[in-house]
């Protein structure tokens, strides 16, 4: 699935020293304070450990943001950093376990008392919510507040920015439900028949088809409760009613947001968050380089976007041992790749596609993305921080990263094109790294006789008008399209459906730019929706990955990494694997 990220933003981290302790910060349970190794410090310390574990309260955490949130309304946001940041003021039904390392990919209950109870052959998912969670004004959260929150997401005119899973997954009248503001059939604004609330603490979702990943969908901030009598529609973003550890104190739209502790939040109900700081601020629309400089100077503690520092700061950090020791370079969850058109001659022959796989220089691809700091060479499509990931390397990406001309030529021979062929490459012209990667690939392919023409388009129209329009790519002989993907939830279905399932091919805005329609891949993805056993379901991830690579439908480039700088005054700092950035819900600051 698609998760949007902001671009060109600096991220930073927290200070280095690790003193370990059994954490008992703010009354949270031990699940959010895993023991960290004593004395662990230095570069990448926060990728696998908690840096500066502490229960100290007080202080202000200042976030800098080089853009503004798409929305602070939890029902209307799609940026990874905002899904992270909203955990400070809302509690969705489910969330990701707050811990460093791979355990951060686990989806666990948040507002709910447990994962969904599945019945009716996978068509019904029942959640029970905690009975004593309160909104910031002291009123108790009920299941109807959760239902109302889900209903709001159906009004795509008013809330167009968030994901649209509920409309596609739910049964009942979901296909035609217009949202609570336009629904004339129900006076109490509870007109969505696909969701029942038999009592104040029970919510039942009726699906149109079985969908084993529904717990992940329940972890999207759109399930955070919204009290109908406090909903202000488009203006709700100015002050969402809090259920999290912090609440809005003030928000100047697109300028500055200030959060203060929510007096009606209880740590016992929310073990995946902490309430340590006295104030949290986010200043928006800042100069990205200015953010980096303020991070290094200590005037800011966190770069909200979490996508890494800019080039100038990166050079400074990597060349200064003390600065490098207080930074981390985690996997961001993105794979940058080139989709190879499986329908366009001669690329409809798998051997011609394999020729591209062998010819491409992965080293040059990685250099385009900033070298090893910018990304790890990808030998397969799934990034390592995906549940069910298994490493394999069919085309020598790691053993022969400069490319293998001999093997490429052998594949060209096998597909009947011994002298190569001609095709086009598309890329997003406003992304310098992608431009460089496209140029690098062009150079690699020319060595084996594959002549390519480069076609750059702005990101805003790339999928809608060009690379994502099968008719356009066919008419213009576009055989290779640069793209990238991150999972909306970290399992195989969440990552692969939109880039590999035949059903995802669409006439415009197409995300399956390879136009792959392999029955093996399709069947495995379909099986994932019906398989409730997690181990079995997750085993399909590597099988799908392997089949896509056997089809040579995608040329994986790099698994993106972000160089984050840890603010030296931050406490409880670690990388939440799902977000690929620091976990904002548990941060504190040294007084």
């Amino acid at each position: 699935m698609r998760r949007r990220r902001t671009f060109g933003l600096a991220a930073f981290g927290a200070a280095a020293a690790i003193a370990l302790a059994a954490c008992s910060s703010g009354g949270s349970s031990s699940s959010t304070n895993p023991a960290s190794s004593p004395g662990v410090t230095g570069f990448n310390a926060a990728v696998t450990s908690v840096v500066n574990p502490s229960t100290t309260k007080g202080g202000t955490i200042s976030f800098g943001n080089s853009s503004a949130p798409d929305s602070t309304d939890p029902g209307n946001t799609y940026y990874a950093y905002m899904w992270n940041f909203t955990r400070l003021y809302v509690m969705p039904l489910m969330t990701y376990k707050s811990c460093p390392g791979q355990c951060g990919l686990q989806v666990v209950p948040d507002l709910a008392t447990g994962p969904g109870v599945v019945s009716d052959n996978g068509l019904t998912w029942t959640y029970h919510i905690q009975p004593d969670v309160k909104f910031e004004d002291g009123t108790t959260v009920t299941s109807q507040d959760v239902k109302y929150a889900v209903e709001r997401t159906f009004d795509r005119g008013l809330f167009p920015l968030g994901p649209n899973y509920f409309a596609g997954l739910l049964g009942g009248n979901a296909a035609k439900y217009p949202g609570p503001y336009k629904d004339k059939s129900s006076k109490d604004k509870m007109g969505l028949t696909a969701v029942d609330t038999p009592d104040a603490t029970t919510i039942v979702f009726h699906l149109a088809k079985p969908f084993a990943d529904f717990d992940y969908v329940a972890a999207i901030p759109q399930t955070a409760p919204v009290p109908p009598n406090k909903d202000t529609g488009a203006n709700y973003q100015l002050h969402p009613v809090s259920t999290g550890p912090y609440m809005f104190q003030s928000y100047q739209l697109n300028k500055q947001l200030t959060l203060v502790p929510n007096p009606n939040w209880k740590a016992s109900t929310d073990p995946n968050a902490k309430q340590l700081a006295s104030k949290i601020t986010m200043t928006m629309n800042m100069n990205a380089n200015d953010i980096d400089s303020r991070l290094l100077a200590g005037d800011l503690q966190v770069d909200a976007a979490g996508t890494g520092v800019q080039a100038a700061a990166r050079s400074k950090i990597l060349s200064t041992p003390t600065l490098k020791a207080t930074s981390d370079d985690p996997l961001a969850g993105f794979t940058w790749f080139a989709a190879i058109n499986t329908t366009l001659a001669p690329l409809n022959n798998v051997h011609c596609r394999m020729a591209i796989e062998y010819a491409a220089s992965k080293t040059n691809y990685q250099d385009a993305y900033g070298g090893p700091i910018g990304g790890a060479i990808a030998s397969n499509v799934a990034p390592p921080n995906l549940v069910g990931y298994k490493a394999f390397d069919l085309y020598g990406a790691t053993t022969d990263p400069g490319g293998n001309v001999a093997k490429a030529k052998a594949e060209l021979q096998a597909c009947g094109q011994p002298n190569g062929f001609t095709t086009g490459i598309t890329y997003r012209s406003d992304r310098p790294k992608e431009v460089a990667a496209a140029q690098a690939l062009q150079a690699s392919l020319s060595q084996v006789g594959i002549k390519t023409s480069l076609h750059g388009f702005p990101t805003s129209t790339y999928s809608g008008n060009f690379a994502g329009v099968p008719k356009y790519v066919a008419q213009h002989n576009i055989g290779i399209s640069f793209y990238g993907w991150a999972a909306d939830w970290p399992d195989g279905y969440g990552f692969f459906f939109y880039i590999a399932h035949g059903k995802a091919i669409s006439p415009a805005g197409n995300t399956n730019q390879s136009q792959l329609n392999d029955p093996v891949v399709n069947n495995l993805l379909d099986k994932m929706t019906n398989t409730t056993d997690a181990a079995t379901r997750n085993s399909y991830t590597s099988q799908i990955d392997m089949q896509i690579m056997k089809d040579a439908a995608i040329l994986p480039g790099v698994w993106a990494k972000s160089l984050l700088y840890r603010g030296t005054s931050l406490t409880n700092v670690y990388v939440q694997s799902y977000y690929g950035m620091y976990n904002y819900a548990v941060l504190g600051v040294k007084s």
Binding site: R156, G157, L158, P160, A234, I291, S293, R294, L296, A297
Partner: protein, 335 residues
């Protein structure tokens, strides 16, 4: 003079109406003439990657299917009386002058611009005082001491000021005086009413950086004007009459040389009040300039339209003030 001012004010109102017609035509008429239908036009009002439902909602709310004269009437009425926009649970009132509603951020444009105005005004006025005083003074002294070390040095510095872009001098200033030697740390706008000292301290660096560019221009302009004026016959006559040199320079020389300075100052200040874009972006100051940059990046047409109208207003008013000031400055000018 009073008659002149009243005539100009009436003319200004007509001019602003013409500006509104031209702006409306650019944003609503030209796209239609270029072949866009109402759906395509509505797409431009919802920011990047809009949903079909969002576009249809905008199409309906803006009444894009109505005749153009009705749309213009609604546009003018909203500027004068305000307008209401659907917020789901009710409606959001866009107070006058309602320059539109940002469907991307789902808030009226004018209140956002109003909250940015004090930043831009503080930046523009503070820098303008610095560059006017500094630039004119240096220009006068350079002209009076033509060929001296001061003249050569100051004109050399002025050349640097004109040549170096603001994003360069700004970043250097921040690196040295905010991060390396935190004399002016954490440059953030604090309103004058909240803390005047902090307001001034946080704006010193942006003022100096912005003023450096303009002071250089004004120094060179003043020097050229003074050199020309001081060689006039009436200056020699004034000296021959026995007037003190200071009176000759200030009352007779500088006053004449200031006419082109005033003209340019009015234009520069008017433009700056529409947003000192590069300075605000460099120092992360949330003024109209940064607002404009974000509006363009986000392809938010209502915000771009709002900024266009406001910038035009400032330029028109600045020109009016300049024209009035001419009559004060130069007794020969009478309307």
């Amino acid at each position: 003079m009073i008659t002149f001012i009243i005539r100009r004010l009436i003319g200004t109102v007509f001019l602003l109406i013409v500006v509104s017609m031209i702006t409306f035509a650019i944003f609503f008429l030209l796209p239609r003439l270029a072949g866009q239908n109402t759906y395509q036009l509505a797409t431009q009002y919802v920011g990047r990657n809009p949903t079909r439902e969002a576009i249809l909602q905008v199409e309906q709310q803006l009444g894009l299917a109505d005749p153009l004269y009705l749309q213009y009437g609604r546009f003018l009425r909203s500027i004068v009386l305000g307008a209401h926009y659907n917020s789901g649970t009710g409606s959001t009132y866009c107070p006058p002058p309602c320059f539109g509603y940002s469907f991307r951020s789902q808030q009226p444009v004018w209140p956002q611009m109003v909250s940015d105005l004090p930043v831009t005004i503080s930046l523009a006025i503070g820098a303008s005082v610095l560059w006017l005083v500094g630039g004119v003074s240096i220009g006068v002294i350079s002209a009076l001491r033509r060929g001296s070390f001061f003249d050569r040095f100051s004109m050399g510095v002025a050349l640097a000021g004109v040549s170096l872009p603001i994003f360069f001098t700004g970043l250097i200033a921040l690196e040295l005086f905010s991060y390396k030697w935190p004399i002016f740390p954490n440059v953030t706008y604090v309103s004058f009413t909240t803390n005047p000292l902090l307001w001034a301290r946080n704006l010193v660096l942006p003022w100096i950086v912005l003023a450096f560019l303009y002071a250089a221009l004004y120094a060179r302009l003043t020097r050229a004007g003074m050199l020309e004026t001081m060689s006039e016959d009436y200056i020699r006559t004034a000296r021959a009459k026995g007037l003190p040199e200071r009176t000759v320079i200030v009352k007779h020389g500088l006053r004449s040389a200031l006419t082109p300075i005033v003209t340019i100052f009015g234009m520069d200040l008017g433009l700056l009040l529409g947003g000192a874009i590069i300075t605000e972006v460099t120092f992360s100051l949330h003024g109209l300039g940064l607002f404009t940059v974000m509006a363009i990046q986000n392809q938010d047409l209502p915000e771009i339209l709002g900024v266009t109208m406001l910038a035009a207003f400032f330029i028109v008013i600045a020109n009016l003030v300049v024209d009035i000031f001419y009559a004060v400055l130069d007794p020969r000018v009478r309307y």
